[in-house]
Symmetry: C2
Subunit: 401 residues, 2 copies
């Protein structure tokens, strides 16, 4: 059995307050997923991620495949155990990084041959191989192997790319269904001896709960191709659906148009995930439209470059104006960074090249993003039972779906 998705409340605008039951965590949605590229949300210890309320983090298949390798991770019990993250995880298919990071790519119907950006070694990824790698990693949610259509793309190029992605979706699903029982933790449901994974929900005895696989809607910026893609994926019956190939350089109204076109075509009773978005106002907007899951490197990557997201707008913390500013980064934020440190100190850490800079900036940005989603979840639940009474999150979880 794959994931279970409970819709707790749906607003007239289509926004859904829900909960996804995954093997390692019941995740409150809409959810923002911090990106833990190579098995670490950069610069942030796992216990701090937990205290920030992160329930579901992302790992990049391409990076983990190259280093330390999926076979090693399988031998160590899977990704959760390897990185000591007991809550839920999602892995991408590796496709996006193969196309954006690797060298000398050669795409055929069979798959993609590419050279590692790390050492130039040659590798061949097929949908089947991506599934094997992702099953070895053992995230709660795996993604179908797809080709992310670049922007801008001619219609003929978008059509060809979509043809490939749809064929690969079918092959991904078939291979996943045939092998999903091989996930490293399915036969290992006893509580782990290391405290590393203490707190993880144990899969049901007998391994009844396993990984889920999501299909990815592509089609470039062509509405009819997007529709076609969504309809064909829905026929295949994935456990959830993602919209990919967005936030690749297109104007934002186009992003919005594609999301608005695709969402109604996806089954209401399965989670919907828009990949790689976005700015704070975007994630709020999409969540209110009915997107249940989003991920983006923006809060973490921007933090390392000194860009903070705050309730008062974006703040380039390195600016001279903050040199003696004794205010917290965001006076309206209650995160562990804003409670303790000043803008002046964060600026100094950045100026001095101190490694603590990346850690504190990232903690704040993630707190800000996760805080947005917490507020969106609260507001999406307000109209429950037709009223506008606020229901605490803990109680909403027990409401009928």
């Amino acid at each position: 059995m794959a994931l279970t998705f409970h819709r707790i409340h749906t607003t007239p605008a289509g926004g859904r307050r829900g909960r996804i039951e995954l093997p390692h965590r019941a995740v409150q949605t809409p959810v923002f997923m911090p990106v833990g590229t190579a098995g670490s949300v950069k610069a942030v210890p796992q216990d701090i991620l937990e205290s920030l309320g992160a329930e579901l983090i992302l790992g990049n298949t391409y990076h983990l495949y190259l280093r330390p390798g999926h076979d090693a991770i399988r031998r160590m019990g899977g990704l959760h155990r390897f990185i000591s993250w007991p809550r839920a995880m999602l892995t991408d298919s590796g496709g996006f990084q193969v196309f954006s990071l690797s060298q000398l790519r050669k795409v055929t119907d069979e798959g993609v041959r590419f050279r590692s950006h790390l050492d130039g070694s040659s590798h061949f990824f097929t949908p089947e191989h991506s599934m094997d790698v992702q099953i070895s990693l053992g995230a709660d949610i795996a993604m179908a192997f797809d080709e992310c259509t670049e922007y801008p793309a001619e219609r003929s190029r978008a059509e060809e790319s979509l043809r490939l992605t749809m064929a690969w979706a079918r092959r991904s699903l078939d291979h996943f269904r045939a092998h999903q029982h091989e996930v490293p933790w399915i036969h290992n449901v006893a509580p782990a001896s290391r405290p590393a994974v203490a707190g993880a929900s144990s899969p049901a005895p007998g391994g009844g709960i396993t990984q889920s696989l999501f299909g990815i809607v592509q089609g470039g910026m062509y509405l009819d191709l997007r529709r076609q893609s969504a309809e064909r994926l829905v026929e295949m019956d994935f456990d959830g659906y993602a919209i990919g190939g967005l936030s690749v350089g297109e104007p934002r109204d186009l992003t919005l148009e594609m999301i608005a076109e695709v969402l109604p075509l996806l089954p209401a009773d399965k989670p919907r995930y828009v990949m790689g978005v976005g700015y704070p106002d975007e994630i709020e907007q999409y969540a209110r439209m009915g997107v249940d899951m989003m991920d983006c490197v923006l809060p973490t990557r921007a933090a390392r470059h000194g860009l903070l997201f705050t309730s008062q707008g974006r703040m380039t913390i390195k600016n001279r104006q903050y040199a003696e500013d004794q205010q917290p980064p965001d006076p309206n934020c209650n995160c562990m960074v804003c409670r303790r440190y000043t803008r002046a100190y964060l600026r100094h850490l950045m100026q001095a090249g101190e490694p603590l800079s990346a850690t504190l900036n990232t903690i704040h940005n993630l707190a800000y993003y996760l805080g947005i989603m917490e507020r969106v979840r609260a507001s999406l639940a307000i109209h429950q039972a037709g009223g506008d009474r606020f229901v605490p999150e803990g109680r909403r979880e027990n409401s009928p779906g």
Copy 2:
């Protein structure tokens, strides 16, 4: 009034279990002080330092003077407040870094002219200026401005260096006594409005507790010069005494010889600090001889290069042999890193260049160093009252000194 030093117990070998009452903290001794060079113990958030039990950390006057500048730090209420560290701090005099890091140094009796290693700008440090800078920073303990004699040094060179250091010690002390009331927090005893410094012991109303100044014994590797240096400093009557110019490349038996020669010459009722040491076995050895305070960049710097100190010896975590090692870094360690992460994961973080690597490695190494000192303190107190009964640390604090 400067610090108060309580000797709780002294062993026959001279080891002292004690407590130093400082404006921001009552510090249990012997104590190891993590180094927070530029206002941050590299890669470790302040709350984690607190949870590790760090009571007294070091800041480098040279670095903080150059960036962000002592005037800025004074305007922001002093170093404790600037970096949000409510516990005790010590600043060095700036001398060591002027001699080891800066460029185009020119030493005269008056002071040292040098160029910044950051931007080549020209600066002039005198004993009086070092005191002014350290008073602006406002650490609980300041250090006299000295010249650290290099190793090896001819006798004539060591004599000349010592002459300078002794003259500068006198000038440091005179200037410090005349200006120590100018510390940024002495007239600001009300609890700070920002939670940043909540938990700091408020100085006594009226500013009765202020900074302390330590003199520094130099003299190269010449026993008679070391004795002469100690005797002259003791005549000057500092609040505590440091032994400097050690761990500068000399063989370890020479380090030990110098410490053994100097310790008995220092007043028993004042803290004794050996600067810049050392390896785990060294800090234990010196503490048992009667050294009350030590600092060293070794645990933090080595951590960033992947060298871990463990109960089983040193571990180069990047080594291939740890690639799938599922043990904690040190199976006998109960720190937050050893409780949660494996050697394989720490190796992966280092291999992948993940910033979390420095953070986790440093936390473990500091936990190891601080743990050594905790055990040494416990063992130094065992012979209290003539018996070998173990007295818990909390109770020992209330024992007669």
